[in-house]
C-alpha cells in the first residue's frame, strides 16, 4: 500500500531565503508524525506547500501514490488535507459557527445558509475537542486560547485524511492539551495521518509515533521519539548540544519591587469572557522571577495589562506599590517612565510592525536616548540595536531587513530586546516563549537569569508548566481573577500548580 503522503525533494525559496531544500517527507495513514526544528527551519513552509497555501515550489507530492499539484487551499481540502495554521486565521466579525464552516457553509434546500444546523454541528464539534463555547459568539471576542480551540474544531470538521497541526497548543494550558491528545488518538485510530508541529518537547514523546527534524530548510533525521531523550532530540534540531534547558537562578533576591494588594478592576464596559483582576495580591522582589499560572482565562493576561495600564477603563480598588510608592498605571508611556516593561502575548498583532525593519522595531520604545532635541543620531540607534541583537543572539541578515521575515522566535527576541533597551526595573512577560524553539527558549531563559541577577524583577505569565517550574523562583496561581496559591519552585512541581489552577486541591501554597 502506498504512503498516505509522500513529499519528495521539496524546495522553496523566499527571496534570498531557502526555506526548504530537497526535503523528503512521508506520512502514513494512522500515523502521528512530529515535525521538529528551530524557528525558521522550514516546518510551516513545508506544510503550507502540502496544504496548498504555497503553490510555487520545487519537487513533487503524491497522495496515496498519485501525484498531485494543488492550485490553492481548496484543492488540498478536496484531496482530504486540512491544516491548522500557526497564526490564528479566523474572521473576527463572524461567529464561531460561521468561522468553522467558512467556505463550505451548510445550506438549506433553497440554497440559503442553514444557520441552525451550522450552530448545532459547531457545538458538537467543540464539545468533541473539549470546549464549551457558544457557537454564536463572534470570534473577535474570544481569548487567544479559545480561538485556537476553534481553529482545531474547524480543522477536525473537515473530516480530512491528512490533518496538519502547526503549533496547535501554543496558547493552551495542560488540560486543553490533554483533551486535544485524546482527539488525536481517536483520529489516528480512524486512519487519519497527522502532522504535529510543536516546540513543546514534552508533548512530542507523548503523542508522536515518528519525528522528522528539519534544520535550515534541510532534512536532518527521522526517528521514533519514544526512543530518544529530549536532550538528544534537541541536539538534532539545533545541531549542537544545548546544556541545561532551564537555569533557575538561585541569586539572592533584593528588596520588594512590586507589591499588589487586593487589586480589583471593575470594567466600565464589561466584555464577555474577560477576566479582570478580582482581588489579586502578590509581590515581586528585585532579582526575582515570579511566575503566573492558571487555566485558560484565569486572568493572567488581564493582570499584566492592568499593571501596565492598558486594561480597559473602569474603577480600580486595591493598591499597586512600586518600590514602596503607590502608583496608578495610566498607560504604556507612564509605565515605561516608571521602569515597567511589558512583552505582550501576541507579538504579531500587539508587538511588531512586521513590515518595518528590525532596527525600527527594536529602538521604538527608547528613541529619546539616541539623540537630542528630537533628532536621532543614527549611529547611536544602530549601536544600541546591534548591541541588543548580539546580546539576544538574534539570527538575522541586516538590521534593515523586515522583522516579519524573521522566524517566530527571533521576532519574539526583538520585542523582548525593545523592552530591555528601556532599561526597566520590572518586566511583565505574557507567554514570552509562545512558538519559540527550544534553543531560543534556552537563550531567553539564560537572559532572564542574567537580568534577574542584575536586580530586575520579572512577572512571567505562562501556560507551560515546565517553564514556570524551571524558570521561576516562585509561582502564583490565578483562578477566576484571584490569586489562589503561591508556590516556591524549590519544593513544588507541575502537579501542584495544575491542581491549584483547576481548583481540585485546596492547597494554600507555601509562601
Amino acid at each position: 500500500m502506498p504512503d498516505l503522503v509522500r513529499m519528495s525533494a521539496i524546495g522553496k525559496r523566499y527571496g534570498g531565503v531557502q526555506a526548504c531544500h530537497e526535503v523528503d517527507f512521508v506520512l502514513g495513514a494512522g500515523e502521528v508524525h512530529a515535525l521538529l526544528g528551530e524557528n525558521g527551519a522550514g516546518k510551516s513552509t513545508l506544510m503550507k506547500i502540502l496544504s496548498g497555501d504555497v503553490t510555487e515550489y520545487a519537487g513533487s507530492i503524491a497522495i496515496n501514490g498519485a501525484p498531485v499539484r494543488f492550485g490553492g487551499p481548496t484543492d488540498a481540502q478536496a484531496a482530504g488535507i486540512a491544516m491548522i495554521h500557526q497564526e490564528l486565521d479566523l474572521v473576527p466579525g463572524l461567529s464561531v459557527a460561521d468561522n468553522i464552516f467558512l467556505g463550505r457553509e451548510l445550506r438549506t434546500p433553497v440554497r440559503t445558509v442553514d444557520r441552525r444546523r451550522m450552530e448545532r454541528e459547531a457545538r458538537e464539534l467543540l464539545d468533541r475537542s473539549g470546549v464549551s463555547l457558544d457557537p454564536r459568539r463572534p470570534v473577535g471576542e474570544l481569548r487567544v486560547g479559545e480561538q485556537q480551540l476553534v481553529t482545531i474544531a474547524k480543522a477536525i470538521s473537515l473530516d480530512a485524511r491528512v490533518l496538519i497541526m502547526d503549533e496547535p497548543t501554543s496558547a493552551l494550558t495542560s488540560s486543553e492539551v490533554e483533551r486535544l491528545f485524546d482527539v488525536i488518538r481517536e483520529l489516528r485510530t480512524g486512519g487519519v495521518g497527522i502532522v504535529y508541529i510543536s516546540h513543546r518537547m514534552e508533548e512530542i514523546a507523548k503523542v508522536a509515533d515518528r519525528a522528522t527534524v528539519l534544520r535550515n530548510g534541510k532534512f536532518v533525521t527521522s526517528f521514533d521519539p519514544r526512543e530518544l531523550s529530549t536532550a538528544e532530540v534537541v541536539e538534532a534540531m539545533v545541531g549542537r548540544p544545548v546544556q541545561t534547558m532551564f537555569t533557575t537562578p538561585d541569586s539572592d533576591t533584593g528588596d520588594e519591587l512590586l507589591r499588589v494588594e487586593n487589586l480589583k478592576l471593575k470594567a466600565r464596559r464589561p466584555r464577555p469572557g474577560r477576566r479582570d483582576p478580582d482581588g489579586i495580591s502578590l509581590t515581586v522582589r528585585a532579582g526575582e522571577i515570579v511566575g503566573l499560572a492558571g487555566l485558560l482565562g484565569a486572568g493572567r493576561t488581564e493582570l499584566l495589562e492592568t499593571l501596565y495600564g492598558v486594561a480597559p477603563g473602569g474603577s480600580r480598588t486595591g493598591r499597586i506599590l512600586l518600590q514602596g510608592k503607590a502608583i496608578l498605571p495610566r498607560g504604556p508611556r507612564h509605565a515605561l517612565a516608571q521602569g515597567i516593561g511589558f512583552v505582550p502575548e501576541d507579538r504579531r498583532t500587539s508587538g511588531l510592525v512586521l513590515f518595518h525593519s528590525i532596527l525600527a522595531n527594536t529602538v521604538v520604545s527608547s528613541l529619546p536616548s539616541y539623540g537630542r532635541l528630537g533628532v536621532i543620531a543614527r549611529r547611536m540607534e544602530r549601536a544600541a540595536s546591534t548591541r541588543m541583537a548580539d546580546r539576544l543572539r538574534l539570527k538575522f541578515g541586516r538590521l534593515q531587513d523586515e522583522v516579519g521575515t524573521l522566524s517566530g522566535g527571533n521576532q519574539q527576541k526583538v520585542v523582548f530586546g525593545r523592552m530591555l533597551l528601556t532599561e526597566p526595573k520590572l518586566l511583565l512577560l505574557d507567554e514570552p516563549t509562545r512558538g519559540v524553539d527550544v534553543g531560543a527558549k534556552a537563550e531567553i531563559y539564560r537572559l532572564l537569569g542574567e537580568l534577574a541577577a542584575q536586580g530586575l524583577g520579572v512577572l512571567l505569565a505562562s501556560s507551560e508548566l515546565p517553564e514556570l517550574v524551571g524558570v521561576c523562583d516562585r509561582v502564583v496561581v490565578l483562578r477566576d481573577g484571584r490569586d489562589v496559591a503561591s508556590f516556591s519552585t524549590a519544593d513544588s512541581g507541575e502537579g501542584d500548580l495544575l491542581a491549584a489552577a483547576m481548583g481540585h486541591l485546596d492547597v494554600e501554597g507555601v509562601q
Binding site: 474572521v91 463572524l94 467558512l102 467556505g103 445558509v113 473539549g130 477576566r275 482565562g297 477566576d480
Partner: protein, 339 residues
C-alpha cells in the same frame, strides 16, 4: 471543564441586553435626529409640517438615490474597499438611459438592461483592477470616477439630454415615466419603493446567503478567508459589480425623476453615500456593519437636510450643522463595546 462553561456563559447572558441595544445603535442617531426634527419643525395651523405624510414621502424620495448607492457602497466597504466612482457611474447611467431612449429611440427594457449592464461591467472591471492587480480600491475608483465622467460627457455631447415622453421619435416610452410617478394614492414615489426593495433585498441577502459570509470574511480577515477556500477574487469582483449595478440603477431613477440625463449628475454623491454608510455603523476597515444601519444613516442625512430646509436655515450655517451632526453620529457609533 464545566467550570469553563459556567464562566463563559454567564457574562455572555449579562451583556446580551446591551448587545441588543448596541445592535440597533445605528438607529439611535436617526431617532435622535427625528425627534429633534419634530421639535424644531415649523408649524402651520397646528400641523407639524415635518411629520406630514407628504413631507415624509419627500424626505425619503430625496434620499432614495443616495440610499440605493449607499447599499452598494455598504457591500464594498464591508470587504474593506471603497468606491469613489458611484456618483460618476450614476451620471453615466442617467445619460445612457436618456440617450438610448430619446436619441436612439430604444425601448424601455433594452435601454434599462443595457444601462444596468454597463454599470455592472464598469464596477466589475474596477473589481478586477483591485482584486487581481491588487491596486487599492480608493485609487482604482478615483480613476474610475474620471473615466466614467469622461464617458458620460462624450456620450451626451456635454449637455444634459432632455427626456420627453411619448410614442414619437426622439421620445422616451411612457412606461419609463412611470418610474418617476407616485403610487398608493399618489403618496409614495416609485423611487422610494425601488429604494425599499433594494434595501430589503440586500438585508435578506446578507442574512441568508453564503456569499455574505464570504464577504464579511474577506473584509474581516482576507488571509483567513483565502485559506478557508473562500474565492476572494471572485467575491471582490462581484461586490464591485453589485455596487456599479446599483449606482447605475440610481442613475436611471435620477434620470426619470429629473426628466433629463446630464453628464454632471451625481457629482459628489460618493461622499454622501459613504457618509450614510459610516453613520450607519459600518467600519471603513471592513468586516463589520450592516445594510440596515446604512438605510438608517441615509434617512438621518435626509431628515437633517429636510429640517434645515424647512426652517430656511442659511446654506452656510447648514454646512456647519451638517458637519457637526455627522461627527456626532459617528461618535455615537464609538459607544459600541468592541472597538
Amino acid at each position: 471543564m464545566t467550570d469553563v462553561q459556567d464562566r463563559v456563559a454567564a457574562p455572555a447572558e449579562k451583556t446580551s441586553v446591551a448587545a441588543t441595544l448596541f445592535r440597533f445603535q445605528s438607529v439611535f442617531g436617526l431617532i435622535v435626529v427625528f425627534v429633534a426634527a419634530i421639535i424644531f419643525s415649523p408649524r402651520k395651523n397646528g400641523e407639524i409640517l415635518f411629520v406630514s405624510a407628504d413631507n415624509l414621502a419627500n424626505v425619503v424620495r430625496a434620499v432614495s438615490e443616495i440610499g440605493i448607492i449607499a447599499v452598494g457602497m455598504t457591500f464594498v466597504i464591508l470587504i474593506g474597499g471603497i468606491d469613489l466612482s458611484v456618483g460618476a457611474v450614476l451620471g453615466l447611467a442617467a445619460v445612457g438611459s436618456a440617450v438610448l431612449m430619446v436619441e436612439n429611440d430604444w425601448g424601455f427594457l433594452p435601454s434599462v438592461v443595457l444601462v444596468l449592464a454597463i454599470g455592472l461591467v464598469f464596477g466589475a472591471l474596477q473589481g478586477v483592477a483591485t482584486a487581481m492587480i491588487g491596486i487599492q480600491s480608493f485609487i482604482v475608483t478615483l480613476a474610475g470616477l474620471q473615466i466614467a465622467r469622461g464617458l458620460a460627457r462624450i456620450w451626451s455631447g456635454g449637455q444634459g439630454v432632455a427626456i420627453a415622453y411619448g410614442d414619437g421619435p426622439k421620445e422616451a416610452p411612457t412606461s419609463f415615466a412611470l418610474l418617476g410617478e407616485r403610487t398608493f394614492g399618489g403618496l409614495v414615489p416609485i423611487p422610494v419603493i425601488i429604494f425599499a426593495v433594494v434595501a430589503i433585498a440586500a438585508v435578506v441577502f446578507l442574512r441568508v446567503s453564503a456569499f455574505s459570509r464570504h464577504l464579511y470574511a474577506v473584509g474581516g480577515n482576507e488571509k483567513a478567508a483565502r485559506l478557508s477556500g473562500v474565492p476572494v477574487v471572485r467575491v471582490k469582483i462581484a461586490v464591485f459589480a453589485i455596487c456599479g449595478l446599483l449606482a447605475s440603477l440610481a442613475g436611471i431613477v435620477h434620470a426619470v425623476q429629473l426628466n433629463q440625463g446630464s453628464p454632471n449628475d451625481g457629482i459628489g454623491y460618493e461622499l454622501d453615500a459613504i457618509a450614510a454608510v459610516v453613520i450607519g455603523g459600518t467600519s471603513l476597515a471592513g468586516g463589520r456593519g450592516s445594510v440596515a444601519g446604512t438605510v438608517a444613516g441615509a434617512l438621518l442625512l435626509g431628515v437633517l437636510n429636510n429640517i434645515l430646509a424647512l426652517n430656511n436655515i442659511d446654506s452656510n450655517i447648514q454646512l456647519l450643522i451638517k458637519g457637526l451632526v455627522i461627527v456626532a453620529a459617528a461618535a455615537l457609533q464609538r459607544l459600541r463595546p468592541t472597538s
